[in-house]
């Protein structure tokens, strides 16, 4: 008679358990799939695009007519506010490699990073796998135009690091101003993020 332990072993061999990373990837795929299903269908998007184009063309024609009647339309150039956060949006990057902490612990940096920056000067980090990195917060300091970042609390505690965040073309670049936490500094200083336009980018 086959006993319980033998059956457990047989099934374990036939169905190997998935790893933590498989679960994280599956979760990312699931969020992507649910968003995709919530989006309007291709046909609806097509007609919305046609309607938007038609509206835009009508607006251009209307402006041309107004201008041809002698109106002196002078486009106003908005004066940028000094504290305008031009980096607002959702950005991502895939990271790889390892870093060794002063205590000798090796941290695997293989992860998908998503950072959301808001116009009100707040922001958040979501790094998968969460078991290694967790979530984090960003807060904009308008006086210095720099961001205070709390992330990787497992290694850095609650101490914030200070970073400047700039745009270079379509990329977002983090530069460390001051960060006592070496693992976070290694992960973020010089890190380049791309704009997240499609959740498929996270699995890609």
């Amino acid at each position: 008679m086959t006993d319980d332990d033998q059956l457990h072993q047989l099934f374990d061999r036939a169905i190997p358990p998935p790893g933590d990373a498989d679960g994280e990837q599956a979760l990312t795929r699931l969020h992507y799939e649910t968003r995709r299903r919530e989006q309007p269908s291709h046909t609806s998007r097509h007609w919305l695009a046609v309607a938007a184009t038609a509206t835009a063309v009508a607006a251009v024609i209307a402006l041309s007519v107004v201008a041809s009647r002698g109106g002196t339309h002078r486009p106003s150039s908005p004066t940028p506010r000094p504290d305008t956060i031009s980096t607002a949006g959702t950005w991502f990057r895939h990271s790889a490699g390892t870093v060794i902490t002063p205590a000798g612990t090796t941290i695997n940096l293989a992860a998908v990073w998503v950072v959301r920056l808001h116009t009100d000067g707040s922001g958040s980090f979501d790094v998968r796998p969460r078991t290694s990195f967790g979530t984090g917060m960003l807060q904009y300091d308008r006086a210095s135009r720099q961001w205070d970042v709390t992330l990787m609390g497992k290694y850095c505690g609650t101490t914030a690091g200070r970073y400047s965040i700039s745009r270079s073309g379509a990329a977002l670049i983090f530069t460390a101003v001051r960060d006592e936490c070496q693992p976070r500094r290694n992960a973020l200083d010089g890190a380049v993020f791309a704009q997240l336009t499609d959740l498929a980018q996270l699995t890609g």
Binding site: T2, L7, F11, I15, D22, G23, A26
Partner: protein, 170 residues
């Protein structure tokens, strides 16, 4: 109860709570579906579909006593439906073929194929016990029956599977 520890509803961060629930239950549900379907890729599809159904109804399901049992019931139902559909398709494709190919007889070591020969409830009970490591009360909750009935399903399934594994594949 073995499960639901990290999956209590939290109105402040519902998505995070769902993520915790997903990460806690994903492996068990995936392995259960793999056992029912005998194929990892199909199992991943079914598992994803089951969790999407949880996600879209999370506000309600998070309040259940056993959301883990709920997602398993959904996954089992979906997996069995997929499996039945595959079998019907196979039967149709081979109904008029000249060679009348028969499905391969599983070897005594192919535990998944042998499990597939058990009656439905016995098969599910065996997989819940030996793949998903559930206790008898938990198996009863997932099957929606009494503990006594779950115990009978498991006992008969286990007995039959042992016979098949020892070579009595008739």
């Amino acid at each position: 109860m073995r499960r639901t520890g990290g999956a209590q509803p939290n109105a402040a961060t519902p998505v995070d709570t769902y993520d915790e629930f997903f990460l806690a239950e994903f492996a068990g549900v995936l392995r259960l579906c793999h056992g029912l379907l005998g194929d990892r890729a199909r199992a991943e599809e079914v598992t994803q579909e089951a969790f999407i159904r949880v996600y879209t109804n999370w506000a309600r399901i998070a309040g259940y006593d056993r959301p883990d049992a709920w997602v398993r019931r959904v996954a089992i139902r979906l997996a069995l439906r997929v499996r039945d559909r595959d079998r019907r398709r196979w039967a149709l494709e081979h109904a008029f073929s000249r060679d009348r190919a028969e499905p391969e007889v599983p070897s005594a070591t192919d535990v998944l194929a042998l499990t597939d020969r058990l009656p439905r409830n016995q098969r599910v009970a065996v997989l819940l016990r030996y793949v998903d490591d559930l206790s008898i009360p938990d198996i009863a909750t997932v099957l929606g029956c009494s503990e006594g009935t779950a115990r009978v399903h498991l006992h008969r399934g286990r007995q039959r599977l042992a016979e098949l594994l020892e070579g009595g594949t008739a």
